[in-house]
């Protein structure tokens, strides 16, 4: 098992039998779908229905608690959420000294180039268009396994 937080020199799935993914989406239908998709690819999944709850789980919320840092290997979040958007969540994660190496993937039902570029520039690993298919998760896995930062 890796110690500390997700190492920047390793790919997301490498050396990790059951990667732990935090999936964030305000739609419970989409949460159910993404959870099953990820579980089918041997991931352990935690879901959150909004940005603040995701940050809380990651230990970046109001109660700074870093017990989940070493556990989460990937964050996958919807872009359009009420309150904190997926973009804002991405920024908060990348601004954090302890969580910034964790890959963040953004999902959206809208194919807006400005939005996509904005997320990638802010450090998102990938942008995926909804509805998410099995082949998208497969591609995600391949992409992150080859990723070396």
């Amino acid at each position: 098992m890796e110690s500390g937080f997700a190492s920047s020199s390793k790919g997301f799935m490498e050396n990790v039998d059951q990667p732990h993914v935090l999936a964030v989406d305000d739609s419970d239908i989409d949460r159910k779908l993404i959870e099953k998709l990820l579980k089918n690819f041997s991931c352990k999944v935690t879901t959150a229905e909004n940005g603040p709850m995701a940050l809380e789980f990651l230990g970046l919320g109001d109660h700074q608690n870093h017990s989940n840092i070493s556990k989460v290997n990937l964050v996958i979040t919807d872009y359009c959420m009420p309150g904190m958007t997926g973009y804002e969540l991405l920024k908060k994660i990348k601004e954090s000294s302890v969580m910034k190496e964790v890959p963040v993937v953004i999902m959206s039902s809208e194919n807006i180039p400005n939005r996509i570029n904005k997320c990638l520039e802010e450090g998102a690993q990938m942008f995926m268009l909804k509805p998410i298919k099995q082949s998208d998760i497969k591609q995600l896995r391949c992409h992150l396994m080859n990723c070396r930062s």
Binding site: S27, I29, D30, L33, K36, C80, S109, P131, K133
Partner: protein, 151 residues
């Protein structure tokens, strides 16, 4: 066992008609493909969640339309949510009807909106009316493995 075979054929025909009529699309197939022995009713669960939301949202928009003046941004918010979930589950005629509705909303033409809203409501009822008996029959017939066990 013979009865089961006939029912299975009926189910297959029903299911194919959903795709032929375009009320469901390939994204629904993706949902079906997530079923496994630990989650044998996954598609039904997802569609139940969808109808729970869609019925509520349609009633909310209908109610909002009765008010004057209509809160257009609020209605668009609800429609955006419904558009997302209908896309995720492959409810394509419902999705198309919502898109048309949102376009009309941009123009602010309340009368045209009301007409198109009735279309959305009809498509939604049609989908529900088709899927409910389908899932009932599916539960009756059971998962494929059961049917293939030798007598």
């Amino acid at each position: 066992m013979e009865d089961n075979k006939v029912l299975r054929q009926q189910l297959a025909t029903m299911r194919q008609s959903f795709f032929d009529e375009g009320i469901l699309d390939k994204h629904y197939v993706q949902v079906e493909e997530l079923e496994d022995k630990d989650n044998p009713h996954f598609a039904e669960e997802v569609m139940t969640m969808f109808f729970r939301d869609s019925t509520k949202l349609i009633a909310t928009v209908e109610h909002a339309l009765e008010k004057s003046p209509c809160d257009l941004p609020k209605m668009d918010k609800y429609l955006h949510q419904l558009k997302g979930s209908s896309s995720s589950v492959g409810a394509s005629t419902v999705w198309s009807a919502i898109n048309k509705l949102r376009e009309i909303l941009k123009d602010g033409d309340i009368e045209r909106f009301k007409t198109q809203f009735l279309c959305l409501r009809d498509e939604h009822e049609k989908l529900k009316g088709n899927l409910e008996p389908y899932f009932q029959l599916l539960r009756q017939v059971g998962p494929v493995e059961t049917a293939q066990r030798p007598m």
